[in-house]
Amino acid sequence: MRRIAAAAFIVLAMAWPSAAAPFQTEQPQETLVREIGARLRCPVCQSENILDSQSGTAREMIVMLREQLAQGRTEAEIVEYFRSRYGDYVLLSPPVSGFGGIIWIVPPILLVMAGAAYLLLVRRSADKAGRVAHDAQPHEPLNEQSLRRLEL
């Protein structure tokens, strides 16, 4: 067990310097540019955000984004600005209001329903199984054959 813990530690320790790096190299404003840019769709591309896109429109939008950040606007204000210019289409995560609402409501409802079905099924059949008496068998000592049956 300790060995496993050690192995896990080594693996993570090796991953760690690279994981720590991003926080120092980027200027705070560029981090914000990336955060907001990842939420905005390039209007002329096929499902690319404005950071990844190589198109002129996307680059102009990035320039606008930087300007607005430099003017001290908040993230919400900037997103709203692009939304008013290009419509809901520009938001890669659809708004909760209007048509986009469905998309946010359905998965949680599904999860709750499926979760309830799971609990109900397990509970009900566990009850039924509880009433069926089990004939307990004593364990035989393990040998080559029983190991194979156990797939060991």
């Binding site: 067990m1 496993i4 991953a15 690279s18 991003p22 938001l91 048509f99 566990a126 040998n143």
Partner: protein
């Protein structure tokens, strides 16, 4: 002569269409009144279809190889400047040819499945053949009447329009064929499930017969998806491998339900559970592979209006899907009363309960991806309003579900079937929990505070250490009983328990992929700099200097390359050379990314615009642990191979039983 060859290909394919109908008719006839000669005829029709379709594909590839521009499809997708290898792979570069590839796989796998299972499943065989024949008919009719790659144009064009430059990459040689093999692989379990439903034999026989087919299809689908990611990473140049693009989602949906199927089939095999659920999953997965193929190939994903460009095709695809769906789900509803088994999930602390929970999560994830991919199309068709559902949405909704699945992946294989004492379960999970806690500690010290990131790290670490513990426990148990050396015990455990340990190795690979995705997805660093020769910038502890911008043209494109030298602590390491290419024939530009991979991460360089003053924009990424994803894929492939190579449990049992019988003289049953 060449023209007549493509006509022969067309003829062969049309003949296959007729034969698929004959196969269905003969097979149904056999089922109605037992007539073995007709069943052989139906089987031979499927065999003949393999020869005919293979010939059809061969004529098409031959037309590409010889650059016969009198064939419309060749003229649209190749060019005399195109290197030979891409001429051959151009066959599946566009709509018509890729459907032809789909069809080829279908007739190939049908023939193999019928040949392999001919003796074992004599009573199901008519229905298996009829189902496979019907699917073949569906694709053949589409290809012959609506999407014909054999059409010729007269007079022949002097030169072709060239293959889409993005597809001129080794990635295209592998990604679509492997992905399609995964898609088509699910047709075989589908046929077996239909046969078992029609015959109302919903026991474990069909599940056992298709275990390997399902695992094979799943492995190919997984590989195809990852190869697609690999290709996107190397070719498209946005620094990532997965963008939640509708085209990607289309392949993810059958993967999610296929993964659920792979697990819940075990519960039916070993415990006789989830019969209805399994046939539902098979039908759903097969439908999703059809939807995936059609979505990507119809162009409807770019815009609903693409559908209207060729209404015949669109209507046919919808019709085919509807018929398959009504037939598949209808059959399940019709037979639902016969599908109930008497086995029960006895306790929430059991393997079957873990599998059920895994299924619930995977299915909700699949439904979410389905909704997120198709809902925008629906809204646009209904109201004309355009909506985007992209990465930020899916990351928020699907990623947490998948994290729960990864967490369960750690628990599931440790929990025994039927039930286990809650206290014993807790004891079993203590070791992996230590792994998770350690990882969490490291992440917290590193300054990670985001809740989702922390739970992702914990889940992956838990799954990884739980899987390792499971493997180690197996080896330890065997060693204790047999007194073998560690190495020998490990070897024996791996070779005797191929199904179980193959599965564990796959899980290990998935955990590695998960670690790679978390690190590269959440800890990526990106820099965009405008530089002149001699300028340098720093990224992930390395100093990158622009030496010059040079010409890098080739026979079929003009190119510009930035030559960058990378050094660390004043020590020069290597050179990187991102390029930009312009393909004159299609007047299309592409970027060739320069990547330097290492264990801890990838340095990823893209060349941007050049300025008049001899400067250039360089975009650099540091993508931590990306290579773990590809390494994880190798581990998954090895695990799958191990599991596929194992004899089935039933056979081992039978062998062991007969060994006992001969040894003691007592009858086996």
């Amino acid at each position: 002569m060449v023209e007549s060859l493509i006509k022969l290909g067309q003829l062969a394919t049309s003949l296959a269409l007729v034969l698929s109908l004959c196969a269905i008719a003969a097979a149904v006839l056999v089922a109605a009144r037992s007539a073995p000669a007709w069943l052989r005829a139906a089987r031979n029709a499927l065999f003949a279809n393999l020869a005919l379709v293979a010939f059809g594909c061969a004529t098409l590839i031959w037309s590409f190889a010889t650059l016969d521009f009198s064939v419309a499809y060749v003229a649209q997708n190749s060019n005399s400047q195109l290197p030979m290898i891409y001429r051959m792979t151009a066959m599946w570069g566009a709509h018509e040819g890729s459907l032809m590839l789909w069809l080829f796989y279908l007739v190939l796998l049908s023939a193999i499945a019928v040949k392999v299972h001919w003796k074992d499943h004599p009573l199901s065989m008519p229905w298996i053949i009829a189902t496979l024949g019907a699917v073949q008919f569906g694709f053949l009719a589409f290809i012959v009447f609506l999407s014909n790659p054999f059409l010729t144009i007269s007079p022949a064009l002097p030169d072709g329009q060239d293959l889409n430059p993005l597809l001129q990459d080794p990635g295209l040689v592998f990604h679509p064929p492997v992905l399609y093999l995964g898609y088509v692989g699910f047709a075989i379990p589908f046929a077996f499930a239909v046969a078992s439903l029609v015959r109302t034999h919903s026991g474990a026989e069909w599940v056992r017969a298709v275990r390997r087919w399902t695992l094979f299809a799943w492995t190919m689908l997984t590989s195809g998806i990852l190869m697609g990611g690999f290709w996107a990473y190397y070719e498209l140049g946005w620094g990532g491998y997965w963008a939640w693009d509708p085209v990607e989602n289309a392949s993810l949906m059958p993967w999610l339900t296929g993964t659920a199927l792979l697990h819940s089939m075990m519960a039916q095999d070993k415990r006789g559970l989830f019969r209805t659920w399994n046939v539902f999953l098979v039908v759903t997965t097969f439908l999703l592979t059809l939807i995936g193929t059609f979505l990507v190939r119809s162009g409807v994903l770019t815009s609903v209006h693409a559908f209207a460009v060729d209404p015949g095709r669109g209507a046919y695809m919808l019709g085919f899907l509807t018929v398959t769906m009504v037939f598949g789900y209808g059959l399940i509803l019709f037979r639902s009363d016969r599908l109930l088994g008497d086995a029960l999930v006895e306790s929430p602390y059991s393997r079957e309960s873990a599998i059920l929970a895994n299924n619930v999560l995977l299915l909700v994830a699949a439904a979410t991806v389905f909704l997120g991919t198709l809902y925008p199309l629906f809204v646009e068709a209904v109201s004309g309003e355009r909506l985007s559902v992209g990465a930020p949405y899916f990351n928020k909704v699907v990623v947490p579900l998948m994290l729960a699945v990864v967490f369960l992946l750690g628990i599931g294989p440790s929990v025994p079937w039927r039930k286990v004492d809650a206290r014993r379960l807790a004891a079993m999970l203590r070791k992996p929990s230590v792994g998770a806690v350690l990882a969490l500690g490291v992440a917290l010290v590193a300054g990670v505070r985001d809740l989702l990131t922390l739970s992702a790290i914990a889940a992956v670490a838990f799954a990884f250490s739980a899987t390792l513990t499971d493997i180690a426990t197996g080896i330890y148990a065997r060693r204790r009983v047999t007194g073998e050396s560690w190495l020998r015990a490990a070897r024996n455990v791996l070779s005797f328990g191929r199904q179980r340990f193959g599965g564990l190795v796959v899980h290990l690979g998935i955990a590695l992929i998960g670690a790679g995705m978390i690190a590269s997805g959440l800890f990526q660093t990106a820099v965009t700099v405008s530089m002149k020769p001699g300028d340098s910038f720093e990224l992930a502890g390395r100093v990158i200097t622009l030496r010059e911008v040079a010409d890098a043209s080739s026979s079929n494109y003009q190119g510009r390359a930035a030559i960058l030298s990378v050094s660390q602590d004043g020590r020069p390491l290597y050179e990187m050379q991102p390029e930009k290419r312009f393909y004159a024939v299609r007047s299309m530009a592409t970027t060739e990314i320069a990547i330097r991979s290492s264990f801890s991460g990838d340095l990823y360089m893209i060349i941007g615009e050049e300025t008049q003053q001899g400067g250039v924009t360089i975009r650099g990424y540091w993508n931590p642990l990306v290579s773990w994803i590809w390494a994880g894929w190798l581990v998954v492939a090895c695990g799958s191979l191990l599991s596929l190579s194992g004899t089935s449990r039933r056979k081992v049992g039978r062998k062991a039983a007969s060994a006992v019988a001969t040894a003691t003289g007592v009858p086996a049953e």
